[in-house]
């Protein structure tokens, strides 16, 4: 069963075609990474999948639902959540409040205008559960402003995770992290249950090879190679085009 199926997707900006006839499927339970040199169209693809950019043509099937051209909030409501390459957190609020906003986003209580904001125990449970998954329990009542960059990256992923998505899209989760922060993040992401399908866009090659069990290489808006990490590592065209001639 495919979690996500992209068929003949196109996107151009004026005369420049960024995504050209892209066809790609992501299997349920897989950790699937998309890599590619700058300008390969990774971000454009990501934005189309999450509804921030409508495709010029083509279809995106999420489960049995066509989501091409849907608004970001509706795509999230249908079970897909994303993290951002540049932190998009609620800086003035604490970790707990950040996660609570995520936990109640698809919960009927979001429209409750009378009860206290912490009245719903199922939301509080969801917050604690996901804080544990991303190792944030020590920081629950700290405002985001006081957190280190690495912890903020963990919160960035946790925010997406807390809406309990079927498909989790991570946009360069390790961007800007130190080696130790990166290691921590890799461990946390690897430990996530297989019931959550993960689609990852990442620059950090080591991270990609550690986390993913399938890799798609994108160049000039279409698929150059698609396979297991080992296959990609051995792929001649990939190592020439992207990994550099001396890699592995």
């Amino acid at each position: 069963m495919n979690a996500l199926e992209i068929i003949d997707l196109n996107r151009s900006f004026g005369a420049i075609s960024v995504i050209e006839g892209l066809t790609l499927s992501i299997k349920e339970g897989q950790r699937h990474a998309i890599i590619g040199p700058n300008g390969a169209g990774k971000t454009t693809l990501f934005n189309m999948l999450t509804g921030w950019l409508p495709p010029s043509s083509g279809s995106i099937m999420f489960g049995d639902k066509s989501i091409a051209g849907m608004t970001p909030s509706r795509i999230t409501a249908s079970g897909m959540a994303r993290s951002f390459q540049i932190n998009a957190l609620f800086d003035g609020l604490t970790v707990r409040q950040n996660l609570r906003l995520s936990a109640q986003a698809l919960h009927p209580s979001r429209l409750d205008v009378i009860a206290s904001f912490n009245a719903y125990s199922d939301i509080e449970e969801l917050v604690i559960f996901n804080a544990e998954r991303m190792a944030l329990t020590d920081y629950m009542d700290k405002p985001v402003q006081e957190l280190s960059y690495g912890i903020r990256r963990q919160l960035e992923v946790a925010l997406a995770l807390t809406s309990e998505p079927k498909l989790l899209l991570l946009d360069e989760p390790a961007a800007g992290t130190s080696p130790s922060e990166r290691l921590r993040l890799v461990n946390l992401i690897t430990r996530l249950p297989k019931s959550t399908t993960i689609l990852l866009v990442e620059h950090d090659m080591d991270l990609v090879f550690e986390i993913s069990d399938r890799i798609t290489v994108l160049t000039y808006g279409s698929v150059l190679a698609d396979g297991s990490p080992d296959e990609i590592r051995r792929h001649k065209a990939v190592s020439d085009a992207y990994l550099g001639k001396n890699h592995a």
């Binding site: 999450t50 608004t71 970001p72 909030s73 509706r74 999230t76 409501a77 959540a81 994303r82 951002f84 998009a88 957190l89 609620f90 800086d91 003035g92 609020l93 604490t94 409040q97 609570r100 906003l101 995520s102 109640q104 986003a105 698809l106 209580s109 979001r110 429209l111 409750d112 205008v113 009378i114 009860a115 206290s116 904001f117 009245a119 719903y120 405002p143 925010l159 997406a160 809406s163």
Partner: protein, 329 residues
Amino acid sequence: MSKQKLIPIIKCTSRNRVIHLTVIAVGLMTLVPFVLNDYQISLGTEVMIFALYALGINVLLGYTGYVSLGHAMFLGIGGYGLAILSVLWGWPVWAAVPATFLIGAILGGVIGFACLRVGKIQFLVLTLAFSQMLSGAFTKLKATGGTDGMAGIPRPDLAWLGVDSWNNDIFYLYVLTFFLVVTFTLYRVLHSPFGSVLVGIRENERRMVALGYRTGRYKIGAFAISGFVATVAGLLLAQRTGFATPDYMSWSYSGEGILMVIIGGMQSFSGPILGAGFYVLAKAGLADITDEYIVVFGLLFMIVVAGFRTGLSGLIKVILTWRTRNERT
């Protein structure tokens, strides 16, 4: 002051302390007609009316993060709503008052829908344009008295309670009732899950969208609530002065409302109330000395913006925290 007070989800003040302070404040406010003189009582009435107005503005300004430069239009809608329904159309007061509130909320939603489709700067300009348009229309409209506005705004008939609402003390208590009901309801709404969504929008709207919120609807809701509360203030203001005039919709009233919120502290629920109290009382005090009270407020505004962003409510919180610390040691 290193930690900024955040609304509404973090509470620096404990729950008990909030309850204590509220009980004391409500007690003192109820005592006003029994201990103060006529002039002071009527100042008290004015404080509550403008406190409601500022609270309404702060739903957008402090909680949702949108600056409306046209909120005085709701003061006008409150006044003219009651004036048109009761004076022109002969509705009884008990029907005209709730109908006016409803109109305020609906117009809030509609104007919000029109203004919130754009960025924050455009929003500011659009709200200003709407209020200028409305005040312009009422200036020209013959049926509502043009520039002169309308006189003879009715107050409710409270004979069934054995009192007369034209009595200064009774009118104070009448306004106090509205003030308490609206303030407590608003407090609940802003501290509900819905209220936390508004704060989320203020902090990072893009992320809220990514989390699955249809933020447009919440913003329209916020504008409707904000407009409703300001409409209540406008209606009471017209009942207090007996007039509904285009003046109440002028941009200077909009600006003064924002001034009250910022001086009082927009990062707290009580800030607008304190700001309105300070504004009305200081204005009355300064008016005895000089006509140029606005200069003083200008200076104060600069001080708050430059050095003391949490306003009066922040100042009080610092004093309370400091006292608690001293009591402990």
